[in-house]
Amino acid sequence: MKILKVLSLTAIVFLMTQCYPEGPVYTDELDLVYSNYDPSYDFASKQTYALPDKIMKIDDELIGGGSPNYVKPVYADPMLAKIDQNMQTAGWTKVDVDENPSVLLAPVAVEVTTTVYYGYGGYWDWWYGGYYPPYGWYYPYPVTTSYSTGSLVVTMLDPNDLSANEKMRAVWGFVVNGLLEGSTTEFTARFTKGINQAYIQSPYLNK
């Protein structure tokens, strides 16, 4: 009977610690696309847009009043091309910013790094796949790890609709957010997929 008690308890503890659902496994499973718009805005009557050839970074230097930095062209160019492609597929015409466009698109990038600190005496409590003895291990010194997420934020502005304090009205916008991991090709594929999704979920832009 005693062995049954021990086996029951062991089985339950094993079940609850080893079989907990694991959640996301791949980087792209953490990618998000958010969009929002002003429902009172008449998108149908607008025909033209302007888009810069760079993506500005929102970083500490800019926030501190310094001059802006820009996303490297190897990353920025495919994203800007994808925005152009989607705007034109939706029936909009690209014009120069001097040609009185109906709307302006303002793309910016934000990077946030999150640091996880285990501190002294942190423990690794997971089973190492049966390869090593099931002791886990501990850290007698501080351990940190971190991950960075990046967001591409694109805002559509009406330059002919200014507020009393001369601010342009934002009428639509989207955010593509994900981990800044993987090769340039993988990163570009994930973020351009997100840009496509932003247009798919914004059918009111279509002509």
């Binding site: 049954l4 029951s8 990618d31 696309v33 914004s202």
Partner: protein, 198 residues
């Protein structure tokens, strides 16, 4: 509600009086699966295969035991890449939903017969702690609530050796509606061992 409070108090009284009138006690350890209903099913539609139940019962009269019951069930569902719209805003991504349920209750059982296979019915009342997470990207929306709980139950015990039985039972946890959360249910199917006088 008044009736359920009275039942709860009676059951609680039984737990404390029990040691004075009988020596026979039963401890159960069981694997538990759960089938979500109501508001829980709206959040996680999948059956839970992760759970356990611990129960302690003491005989207070012939065929009647009272005791307490604690359990933990984890529900999980991965929603494929999809869009969720609220007014003008739309959010798209893969969603991971988790629900950890911790029912804690005082209950009574009535056993029918004395053979090798002993059926029983039971009723319990207590509280349910519900920890609910919806993860998207690197964010999580977390809700946690305490519900009043009622649990009808039925099952069988099979004697396998002196002092040990196998127990198979179904228990329906009904968590009542509260101000911040809807009512929901969880049909537990449990399988495990009962040890007499542990």
């Amino acid at each position: 509600m008044k009736k359920t409070i009275i039942i709860t108090l009676m059951l609680a009284a039984g737990v404390f009086i029990a040691p004075l009138v009988s020596a026979q006690s039963f401890t159960s350890l069981q694997y538990t699966m759960g089938i979500p209903t109501g508001g829980l099913k709206d959040h996680v539609d999948k059956i839970s295969w992760r759970g356990f139940t611990f129960e302690y019962q003491r005989e207070v009269a012939e065929s009647v035991t009272v005791g307490c019951n604690f359990a933990w069930s984890t529900f999980y569902e991965r929603k494929d890449y999809d869009s969720y719209t609220n007014n003008n805003a739309t959010l798209t991504g893969v969603q991971y939903r988790y629900d950890n349920l911790f029912p804690m209750l005082i209950n009574a059982h009535y056993t029918i017969g004395t053979g090798t296979v002993i059926p029983y019915v039971g009723l319990g009342a207590g509280t349910m702690y519900d920890l609910r997470n919806t993860d998207m990207g690197t964010w999580t929306i977390e809700e946690n609530n305490w519900h009043f709980l009622m649990t009808p139950e039925a099952g069988f015990m099979f004697d396998v050796s002196p002092g040990t039985s196998i127990k198979l039972n179904a228990k329906y946890d009904y968590a009542f509606k509260i101000k911040d959360a809807d009512a929901f249910g969880n049909l537990n199917i449990s399988f495990g061992f009962v040890f007499n006088s542990w």
